[in-house]
Assembly symmetry: C2
Homo-oligomer: 273 residues x 2
């Protein structure tokens, strides 16, 4: 049986579920590893609670900033903290526009109301901005600045792109999302394809979530170790253990892989085997 009639919202939920279950993923929550405060069940609960906002996106009407805010609000109702903020930044336009081309067209149409809603969503999470960011989410003045400059949500992403690879996807046409989807289709079906695609993206770019948390040198070292794992010169299990030990979790690559799985599913990639 295949799911030819899978809805875009279901595809997005399936992508969230498959990403978190895939293992071993160095440093992140997966089937074999919880963080003390954020467990597998929190990611899966968010997957369930995101449904309403994803259905809202699926209609292709309404405002993307507002829908991201709804997704963050609805998945905030557990003790696991932020699980999918970055994933929603990618998934909501992808579901709204059905695919990457549609997402790019949709984000071109964002306006200042989307930017304001997005900052309100951001404020609900514990995600950190770069230190001393001019548009600091914790500074009440930020919304005033956004309104005065009439910034669209795409402008906000342009502002964040240098330091955030998820925001960069908006600005550069979802190239890593596209690459991850192509990798999944090249590698094959199921769990192992997700782990391989994850490692391959991790080996190609420093994860900006790691940069924000630990600095560029740690992110670059993590990227280099991912290359060694891909080349067979280092064990994936050892890499995973080290990342966990040092609290290094490539959260932005995980967000992008979710968008890649969503995209690949829409192009006929099979998660089932």
């Amino acid at each position: 049986m295949t799911c030819l009639l899978m809805r875009a919202a279901e595809r997005a939920q399936l992508a969230m579920m498959l990403e978190v279950c895939a293992y071993p993923k160095p440093g992140n929550v997966d089937r074999c590893h919880d963080y003390p405060d954020t467990r597998l069940e929190h990611f899966l609960a968010s997957t369930i609670f995101a449904r309403t906002a994803l259905e809202e996106a699926e209609t292709g009407t309404g405002r993307i900033g507002e829908i991201i805010k709804h997704a963050v609000r609805d998945t905030n109702c557990h003790k696991g903290g932020n699980t999918h903020f970055g994933a929603f930044i990618l998934l909501i336009p992808l579901v709204f526009g059905k695919n990457i081309a549609g997402a790019l067209s949709a984000i071109e149409k964002t306006d200042v109301s989307d930017a304001v809603a997005f900052y309100k969503a951001f404020a609900m999470t514990s995600v950190k901005m770069k230190a001393a960011d001019e548009l600091d989410v914790n500074d009440p003045h930020t919304l005033t600045v956004i309104r005065e400059r009439d910034m669209t949500l795409l402008d906000v992403m342009r502002h964040s792109a240098e330091n955030d690879m998820v925001a960069r996807e908006w600005v550069t046409g979802f190239p890593l999302t596209r690459r991850g989807a192509d990798l999944l289709k090249q590698i094959g079906s199921g769990r192992q394809a997700i782990v391989q695609a994850f490692l391959t993206l991790l080996a190609s770019e420093p994860d900006t979530f790691i940069i924000k948390k630990h600095g560029m040198e740690v992110a670059r070292q993590t990227m280099l170790t991912a290359r060694e794992v891909l080349d067979g010169r280092y064990s994936l299990e050892q890499f995973d253990a080290e990342c966990i030990e040092r609290d290094i979790n490539p959260g932005s690559i995980a967000d992008i892989i979710i968008a890649s799985i969503y995209t690949a599913l829409g192009e006929g990639w099979s998660w089932d085997y």
Copy 2:
């Protein structure tokens, strides 16, 4: 944060997700164990795909047999086979009626159309009837018999109650569902409460899924070993490994525990800790 506004459909999905993630559960698919053809991801995909039918049940209108059929149809679209047929038999009336009292009132109102829809759902699964059952789902004559006798879905459950503890819940007022919910609330929150409640039900009744697959003696022995585990005389991990080795999976108790989690969540039990 708590989810005070959680919808009944979401509560049912959360129950399905929490049950399959809880570990170690002797013999069943859980976070630490897949079957070759049915994996954690299949159970979680069914949890996502069940949403539409659970929302249909949530309206409290329509026909229960038809809604069970929709749930089975919508969750049949992966290669993992039947994951939640027994769970839907309990969850659909519970969501339809909101709680056990409402479910009992709803199942009293089932008629022959529910029974026919249910048998059509049954035929979509690979679930086995007792050998030589008079109402064999694989016998095309069965629907004629049901129609001739004007059997309601509750009558069908009465017919099956002796050999199926899920059907027995309908006939006897959901006593094990109730007991499991009470156990969860007594034991505490989260994953360990689910494992303990599961073991306690397994120690109190022979699982009818095991009886159908391996006979009464194996089911009785499994029940007795569960008692030893509860008494601390036997290791849960060893019990799990033995069940897996011998292909013994207490699937009916798992279905009932899902109904118990749904019920407990509706009464304020916290899965989060």
